[in-house]
Assembly symmetry: C2
Homo-oligomer: 467 residues x 2
Amino acid sequence: MKLLHSKPFLSLSFFFVALFLWMMPTPEGLKPDAWYLFVIFFTTIMSIILALLPIFTASILAVSFAILSNTMDVGAAYGGFNKSFILLIIAAFLVARGVVKSGLGKRIALHIIKKFGKSTLGLGYSMVATDMIIAPAFPSNTARSGVLYPIVESLAHDSGSKIGDHTQKKMGSYLMMNSMAGITISSSLWLTAMASNPVGAGIAAQMGVDITFSSWFQAAIVPALSAFITIPWLLYKIFPPELKETPEAPKKAQDELERMGKMSRNEWITGGVFVSMVSLWALSATLGLDKTAIAFGGLGILMISKIFTMEDMKTQGDALSTLVWFAILYAMSSELNRLGFMTYIGEGIAGELVGMSWQLVYLVLIVLYVLIHYLFVSQTAHMLALFGVFLSVGIDAGVDGELLALMLLFATNFNSVITPQGSSANVLFAGSGYLTASEIYKNGGIVTLANTVIFLTIGTFWILLIN
Amino acid sequence: MKLLHSKPFLSLSFFFVALFLWMMPTPEGLKPDAWYLFVIFFTTIMSIILALLPIFTASILAVSFAILSNTMDVGAAYGGFNKSFILLIIAAFLVARGVVKSGLGKRIALHIIKKFGKSTLGLGYSMVATDMIIAPAFPSNTARSGVLYPIVESLAHDSGSKIGDHTQKKMGSYLMMNSMAGITISSSLWLTAMASNPVGAGIAAQMGVDITFSSWFQAAIVPALSAFITIPWLLYKIFPPELKETPEAPKKAQDELERMGKMSRNEWITGGVFVSMVSLWALSATLGLDKTAIAFGGLGILMISKIFTMEDMKTQGDALSTLVWFAILYAMSSELNRLGFMTYIGEGIAGELVGMSWQLVYLVLIVLYVLIHYLFVSQTAHMLALFGVFLSVGIDAGVDGELLALMLLFATNFNSVITPQGSSANVLFAGSGYLTASEIYKNGGIVTLANTVIFLTIGTFWILLIN
């Protein structure tokens, strides 16, 4: 039995499975390149889930193999690196370092600890609540993750939970995973909390289903609040922080705040930059501003002010590895989609559903829509590829259009922690060093299961009730 | 007088010059965007030359401003990040770390020191000679820089010259600058030592000037050897290493080699990976392989073998800043070119040359062709933008076609250290930490001047003699 779990054995079996899939004849109806790319992508993801390789190593080997085997051309393979929303992650990553280094992150964290810091669970709830409250003003959940991330990092630091000294599990790992999971809820709650939500509503409108800001919110509020109550507690049980009760923390935070005294020059500048950035991010859709350019500008000002320096830059290798793996996996998933693999799967599913009751069709569609997110490295790409197909299949089978449209769009958000790369909003947390890829797969999988159950039961019941 | 050199005064004056240029009416014949982008680019480059800002900070502020002022659209502004040859720099950077860490770099360096290590100048010459010998097999000088860089870094380390502990000037800064300058010579020497050389020969052929592998080499050998004799010595004088004579170094290297004993497992693996990578790079044009995919594959193998680890990755922030600044400056220069700024300048020059003697036209064309490289962030882009224009202007004015074509193509290579971003082959050295951007501007400027004088005098005389 031990042999079965040993890494060399696992790696070898894994290698033969991959080889077998590669040698298999291409399934009918698929382009050979789509099949080969699927095998590469699947192998990559599995090697990460099974913790055979770090996500960075798996990704660079995958892109190398995909190009050298002529499965992907160079343009497609490197096509993730110049995407603004991917570069935004890097810029936000570096700005977050500045916020932490300036002391401002610490000050905000201490204020939060003063109020909610009696227990780690309390901190977890307070972070998700903050996210849900600011979400309607942030049509980019990536940008929102850039706001939350430095605060979560400072909370962890100030609770003595750091990376590199084996204290990451004290509190940081839980808080990172919890905030990442929180974004699934905050993005489901508001039509404007995620860029692809209004796009999805637009597609639904073309199919005769009208979704407005308030109808979305009315439908989402009950399942989203249920998920809000459940998820931080669930993670606390399945992925417990070592430090649970900290009754003395609020008092300590108060003392520490007094010791810190007034805000320093660096904190004022960082605060000004951060508030300007966040305001411009919130207004970026209206004003037509590129969020990444805003972040680069903010970072530049922190650098001119010597708050974040070239010396600090030297140790930001994690930002580079994050850029590389995310850009590669994103490009592979996009190409898989472009080659028709996703619609092939979607149409295959539709074919299987003929003759089922609408309830069963509804259930199967939602569950498959959630699970298929293992293949996607972007919520928007997933929604654009499959929302329309799934919605029309369901309506044809007699499912209520509004119910199905809303649930699929909620699912677009609540499935996003099923993998580390499932959303660009995950990536800062996934790259924080507090979480391994396999921890995210495991806990993200459980959170996604819980979300799916909550939305399918409470959510469905509630939507049918109010309509 | 002191005020004039103080940074705040300089920064302020600089700001007003930039503002004045920005407010100026667009020169006739230029698109407004071309002019605005030129002002941004010029300001960025000047702020780097004057050491007002690090190259990374200047670049992110520039891209932020260019996008937010609507001078560049997002696609163009981030268009450098997905270029294979730019990602190659990053992959080569990380592979170089593996070569150094494995001990293989140290071993190769010790062998070189054993043979040539009596003086720093001897090491300088031996590195440039190595480069010139391997160059005909490397149509990518970026890939070649990836071969040389880890060896130069190990040479510096083993001579006790490191970054971070104020010993970088002992030897490393000189060796880095010298190898970067050496690539200008090795790339001029062979038709196949640089990707754009055969492309330029193709353009010349369309204009009736035939250049072959051997005619190129015959023309280049005398000026290139003259530059080879001059440049390492010149840099030794103007940018001296602190450690000059090391008569005991070869004996020490011999002892150290004996102490190291046989090659370790990690050295064997790294050696295998490095030799395979280098061979595939050399064959990449013939076999149609992407050099970056080869490098990612090699890096992946080093990571699977735990020679380069995710822990090592954390400290590779310099690779990230290098990627960011180079991608940004490259995109700006490309866009400036696309908007017609470069041909505008070229045509302006052509207009001024009417009625001059062919000798003067020849001189002016070459000097301007060299100087204009301040605006380019790619040797190939420069060649493609201006080689044809300059060649036809010169031929019309009575300059011998072969002489001018050869000299312009030599200049495409020997001007490439005029700025840190002047060639992708510079970037590893520029990002090494051993050199500041302003040191590269200063010493690179002097090297370019020396190259220009050598090629224009000895080179011109020689070419006229053999034809």
